[in-house]
Amino acid sequence: MDDATRIEIFRKMLLSRRLEERVRQLSMAGELPATLHPGAGQEACQVAALAALRPDDPMLYGHRGLAYWIARGLPPEKILCDIAFKEGGTNGGKGGVMHVVDPSRGIFGESGTLGGNFVIGVGVALAEKMRKTGRVVIMFFGDGTSNRGQFHEAANFAAVKKLPAIFFCENNGWAVSVSAKVSTAVENIADRAAGYGMPGKVVDGNDIDAVYNATREAAERARQGEGPSLIEAKVQRFLGHYLGDPEPYRTKEDVAKLREKDPLPRLQQDLVKRGLLDDAKLGAFEKEIAETVDRAAEFTRAQPPVAASTALDSVYAT
C-alpha cells in the first residue's frame, strides 16, 4: 500500500466516524430520524477493503454505518438527505439510510432482509463475468447474516460458476442482541469457505494492511477467473444495534474493553510513526472534516422534504 492510500484510508475513516457522530447527535436531538445502525469501530475494514478494489467494482454493503459510501466518495450531504427524507439524497425517501445508492460509484444498494445481498451480488457477478467487464463484486455482511440460507446458496453458486465475487464478513460477534457464541457453532465464519471450495481467510479487521492485502489478493484471483473468496475481518461494534439500543446484553466494561481496540487511534499512531502524520496535519484534517460535516448538515437542514406525490413513482420503469 502506498503512502497516499494509507492517508486516504485514515481520512475516510475519520470522516465516517465524525459524520456518524453528527448523525447520532442530530437523531438524539430529534432533527433526524433515528434509523442508522451505527458502524463505529468497523470503519477500518470497510474503508481498507474498498481501497483495495477499483472504484467501479460493484458493492453491496451491510447495515453498519456510513463508511462504505464515504469510501466510494459519496458526498456526505447525500447520505444525510437520505436519512432526513429530503430532496438531494440518492433514493428519494423510498429507502432511507438502508438503501443509499449510486451505481456510478459502484454502490449497488442493500437488501433490507439480511442475506438478499448474497444472491443479488452473485447475480451481479454473473453479469460482470459474462460481459467480461473485469469487475469484481464485493458483498459485505455480518456474522449474523452468515446464518441465512442465501449465504449457502450464493456461496455454492459463486464457487461452482467461478464468479468474480468477494464475500466480506465483518464479524463483530453480535447479531443485534444475540452473541455469535449462541448462534454459530464454528469459531470462524471463514472456516465455512472450505465447504464451498473457495479460499477463506481470517484477518484482523483493525489492521488496514491485513484487510487491504487480503482483499487485493481475492480481487486478483477473481479477475483471473479463479472464482470467489471469503474474507472474515474480526471487528468490534462499539455501539448498540440501533440508535437508542439499551444494550442489556452486554456491560459498559465489555464495551470499554472493545474500545481499546479502536482502529482509528491505532492507524493514527501508525501514520505518525511512519512520518505521514503530525499534530498539525491531524488538526487540519479534523478542521476540514468538521467543516465538511457542518456544511452537509446545513445543506440538509435547508433542503425541502421529498414531495409526498412522489410516493407513487419508481415502482415500474415502463
Binding site: G116, V124, M130, E153, Y316
Partner: protein
C-alpha cells in the same frame, strides 16, 4: 400468414428469436441446459447458445435473486423455476427483491428479468400444482403474464424479455401440448390488453389458461341451450385491463370468474371488488366465483376434480346466472 405450434414450442420459438436478437439475454434454471427443462420445451437451446443457457443447483433463492443482480448489471436474464409453487421458496427474491429493489433504491435501476414457471394442475399434489397468480398480482413491482394460447405464449414472452421491469411468466402445464396458430414474423403481444375470446350478451365469464379452455367449452354447451356468454381472457394480470372487463359487464350485466386457485383473496375476489367499486349499477345479478375451495390441491385425479372447477361446474353456475 401463420404457422401451427404447440404452446411449449411457441415458448421455445420466443426464446430462440430473442436470444438471437439480443446477446444480453441468458437462460438458466434447474435442468434447463442439458435436459431442456423439466417439460422439455428448451431442448437444443444449449447447443445453439452455449454458456448463455446453463443449469443451476437446486437453489431457488439464487436462481431468482441472481436474476435481479444480473438485470441490475446489464443482462436480460430469463430464469426458470421448475414449478410455480417454488415461488414460495424464493418469495424474498421474487416479491421483495425483484418487486421492490428498484423502488427502494429510488428508481436507480431497471430490472429487465423474466421468471418463468410452470403452473397449474396435472395431479402433482399440493406443492407442484398451484397457480400462485394472486400472490404475484398482490405484490407491487411485478408484471404477471398468464398466456392461454400458443400465440400469446410466444408474443407475451417476447414482450416480457424486452420489458425493463421484472415479469413473472406462468406457463400452464396442461397447455404445453395445446396446438394453435402463431402469426409468422415478429409477433409481440402487449401487456395490459385483455382479449374477448368469445362474444356474447347474457353473462361475462373471466378466465385464463386451463380455466379459459374449460370456460370456452362450457360456453359452447351453453350456446346450445340458448345462453350466449361472453368470455374474457385478461392475458396479463399485471398490468390488469380493467376497462375490457368493465365494458363487457356493462353489456351483459353479470359476471363470474373461474380460477384455478384458492378462493379466498384470489384474483376473482379482486375482480369482484373492482366491480363493486366501478360497476355496481351495471350488475343486475350477483357476482360469482368458481375457485378451489381453500384446500390444498390433492394428488388423486378424482380428488382434484372435486376441487378444481370443471366444465360441468361452470355450466351449472352460468345457468344460475342466466338473465331472468
Amino acid at each position: 400468414m401463420s404457422h401451427t405450434l404447440s404452446y411449449g414450442h411457441a415458448i421455445r420459438e420466443a426464446l430462440v428469436e430473442e436470444m438471437r436478437r439480443d446477446p444480453s439475454v441468458i437462460l438458466y434454471g434447474e435442468d434447463v441446459a442439458v435436459y431442456g427443462g423439466i417439460f422439455r420445451v428448451l431442448a437444443g437451446l444449449r447447443d445453439e447458445f452455449g454458456e448463455r443457457v446453463f443449469d443451476t443447483p437446486i437453489s431457488e433463492n439464487v436462481i431468482a435473486g441472481s436474476a435481479v443482480g444480473a438485470a441490475m448489471a446489464g443482462l436480460r436474464p430469463v430464469a426458470e423455476l421448475q414449478f410455480a409453487d417454488f415461488i414460495h421458496c424464493a418469495a424474498d427474491e421474487v416479491i421483495l427483491k425483484a418487486g421492490t429493489w428498484r423502488y427502494a433504491h429510488g428508481g436507480a435501476f431497471t430490472l429487465p428479468l423474466v421468471i418463468r414457471a410452470p403452473s397449474g394442475g396435472m395431479g402433482f399434489g399440493p406443492e407442484h400444482s398451484q397457480c400462485p397468480d394472486a400472490y404475484i398480482m398482490h405484490s407491487p413491482g411485478l408484471r404477471l403474464a398468464v398466456p392461454s394460447t400458443p400465440a400469446d405464449a410466444k408474443g407475451l414472452l417476447k414482450t416480457a424479455i424486452r420489458m425493463d421491469d421484472p415479469v413473472v411468466f406462468f406457463e400452464h402445464k396442461l397447455l404445453y401440448g395445446m396446438k394453435g396458430e402463431v402469426p409468422d414474423g415478429e409477433h409481440l403481444v402487449p401487456f395490459g390488453k385483455a382479449n374477448v375470446r368469445r362474444e356474447g350478451s347474457a353473462l361475462t365469464i373471466v378466465a385464463w389458461q386451463e380455466m379459459l379452455r374449460r370456460s370456452l367449452e362450457a360456453a359452447e354447451r351453453l350456446a346450445k341451450e340458448g345462453l350466449d356468454v361472453e368470455v374474457v381472457d385478461p392475458v396479463t394480470l399485471n398490468p390488469f385491463d380493467r376497462e375490457t372487463i368493465l365494458a363487457s359487464v356493462r353489456k351483459t350485466g353479470a359476471c363470474m370468474v373461474v380460477e384455478e386457485a384458492y378462493r379466498t383473496l384470489g384474483v376473482g375476489a379482486e375482480i369482484g371488488a373492482m366491480l363493486m367499486e366501478e360497476a355496481f349499477g351495471d350488475l343486475d345479478r350477483p357476482f360469482r366465483r368458481l375457485a378451489i375451495p381453500d384446500v390444498p390441491i390433492p394428488t388423486a385425479p378424482h380428488l382434484v376434480d372435486a376441487v378444481v372447477p370443471r366444465v360441468d361446474d361452470i355450466v351449472k353456475v352460468a345457468r344460475e346466472l342466466a338473465p331472468k
